[in-house]
């Protein structure tokens, strides 16, 4: 098999703080790949570098044969993404969010409508397509983002903690569908999650990152065997320790608050 993502000696520093430290790994074409690690390990930072949002401090990346820091549009055409943080326009309807995406990705006009309808149906939002996204629950927004990420038939789908806030039914439904596209269309899936059972069940291969360094790599079974663990969760704790990490929230919450106080927007 050919590698659809190649990462070599990738490093990202923020004002001297090393968030990603000289990591190298690859993802095979058509693979379901889990990128695991505790909070602050450097997962989202790595995904941002793979998806042209952030320039690496050093190192080499190839996504779909193109370099995200050189040939950005070639890379951008090839992937879909569900970000860790919300990325919908709350003041637009579900349909409008989808249409905007369809236009940005130049999906042909004659297939646009059908494709959007099919995907909204898949995420069970057909009857809410004309509702403003700000009236949606967290789970509904997530589902809409997943549908949107698939709209343009990406070769790679990045999912950064996509199942946060989803109930087990939806999560199960989502994975059934993703695995189906993965099989039928050979779409590569690159995902992060804190649910170890989800990774154990769905991932063909796993890379574990901690404090910006890759600490292990292999199939779920290989990782369990290597750490003599009964579950992936146990293996994960064995590899990354029991110490609890703080997630740096705060800034966004504070701003949400302020926007509320300001009011004036709606």
């Amino acid at each position: 098999m050919a590698k659809i993502i190649k990462v070599k000696s990738l490093t990202k520093k923020f004002n001297g703080f090393t968030a990603v430290n000289d990591i190298s790994f690859g993802v095979e074409k058509g693979e379901i790949f889990a990128f695991l690690g505790p909070n602050g390990a450097g997962k989202s930072t790595t995904i941002k570098m793979l998806t042209t949002l952030l320039a690496p401090t050093s190192g080499k990346i190839l996504v779909n044969g193109a370099d995200p820091s050189q040939d950005q549009d070639a890379v951008r055409r090839g992937f879909g993404i569900v970000f860790q943080d919300p990325s919908l326009d709350d003041d637009l309807t579900a349909m409008e969010n989808m249409e905007l995406h369809a236009v940005l990705y130049s999906i042909p006009v004659n297939t646009r409508k059908k494709r959007i309808e099919d995907l909204l149906k898949f995420v069970d939002l057909s009857d809410r397509s004309k509702s403003l996204v700000k009236t949606f629950s967290g789970g509904m927004k997530r589902r809409l983002e997943i549908a949107r990420g698939l709209l343009h038939h990406p070769k790679i789908l990045f999912l950064d903690e996509p199942t946060i806030g989803l109930d087990p039914q939806t999560r199960n439904h989502m994975w059934t569908y993703l695995k189906d596209i993965n099989k039928k269309e050979g779409m590569t899936v690159f995902f992060t999650t804190h649910y170890m059972d989800e990774a154990e069940k769905n991932a063909d291969r796993i890379v574990i990152i901690d404090h910006g360094n890759i600490v292990a790599e292999g199939t779920p079974n290989a990782l369990k065997k290597k750490t003599k663990s009964a579950s992936l969760e146990e293996a994960f704790l064995h590899l990354t320790g029991h110490e609890i990490r703080n997630e740096e929230a705060g800034a966004l919450d504070a701003l949400r608050q302020r926007r509320h106080v300001w009011g004036g927007r709606h």
Binding site: D73, H101, R265
Partner: protein
């Protein structure tokens, strides 16, 4: 092209959807028209300057365009914080198209706001002396709107959050407004203030707008248009450069 259009449309749709915002932002210009218009009208006339409302209305129209346009540009910060900016930044669309679509959308909204204020001003006594010039007035309004949306975009591209917003309002936007001759004639000002006035791009917007709405343009509307166009072009260039440098 279609990408520019859809991003333009997004701004416009969002604007018309937020009725309370439209109505809320009409309060201030209306208050200025009434308070300044009636308050200084007598003094202005006694000083031999003519009808103050005729003089003031173009200034207040431009003011509401200025505020709406800067705010439309600054909205990039909201989009950044609330995540939608990422959706556009990973799309296979040139940064320039994204910036242009947004800026044109913001400028359209600001122009519309200016039109509403212009209509409102007729209720407090503003009179059109000629209707031929209305298309020219719209042109001036749109260029003012474009200029300041581009400025807002440029500023917002450099800011991570709204912390600096108050600073920008107090030390950039308010001076742009007050030093532009929107409220008073700019002849015979102290030297330092005259220089500040002539640096302020808004001065030429208001001068031109006043000219085509039947007043006297001190610099000549042709010259005003030229200055505005050049500055708008420069701001668009700076704005799209800074926008293309955004990292998330």
């Amino acid at each position: 092209m279609e990408q520019i259009y859809i991003l333009w449309k997004r701004q416009v749709v969002k604007y018309f959807r937020s009725r309370s915002r439209i109505i809320g932002s009409l309060g201030q210009p209306l208050l200025y028209l009434i308070a300044f218009g009636y308050g200084f009208g007598g003094v202005f006339a006694r000083a031999g300057q003519g009808n103050y409302i005729q003089f003031l209305a173009p200034g207040i129209v431009a003011m509401s365009i200025l505020f709406t346009a800067i705010f439309a540009g600054i909205e990039i910060i909201w989009d950044r914080q609330f995540g939608f900016l990422k959706e556009t930044m990973v799309a296979p669309v040139s940064r320039f198209s994204i910036m242009l679509g947004r800026t044109l959308g913001g400028a359209t909204v600001a122009t519309f706001q200016g039109i509403v204020v212009l209509i409102l001003s007729t209720f407090v006594g503003f009179r059109f002396t000629t209707y031929y010039h209305i298309p020219l007035a719209l042109l001036f309004m749109f260029i003012i709107a474009l200029l300041f949306t581009a400025l807002g975009t440029a500023i917002a591209s450099m800011l991570e959050d709204m912390q600096g917003f108050q600073l920008i309002m107090n030390f950039l936007v308010m001076p742009i407004f007050f030093l532009s001759g929107s409220l008073y004639p700019i002849q015979g000002l102290p030297k330092a203030m005259e220089i500040a006035t002539k640096i302020d791009p808004m001065t030429y917007g208001i001068d031109g707008l006043r000219g085509v709405l039947g007043g006297a343009a001190q610099f000549g509307t042709g010259f005003d248009l030229l200055v505005l166009s050049v500055i708008t072009f420069v701001f668009l260039l700076i704005g799209s450069y800074l926008f293309s440098k955004i990292q998330i």
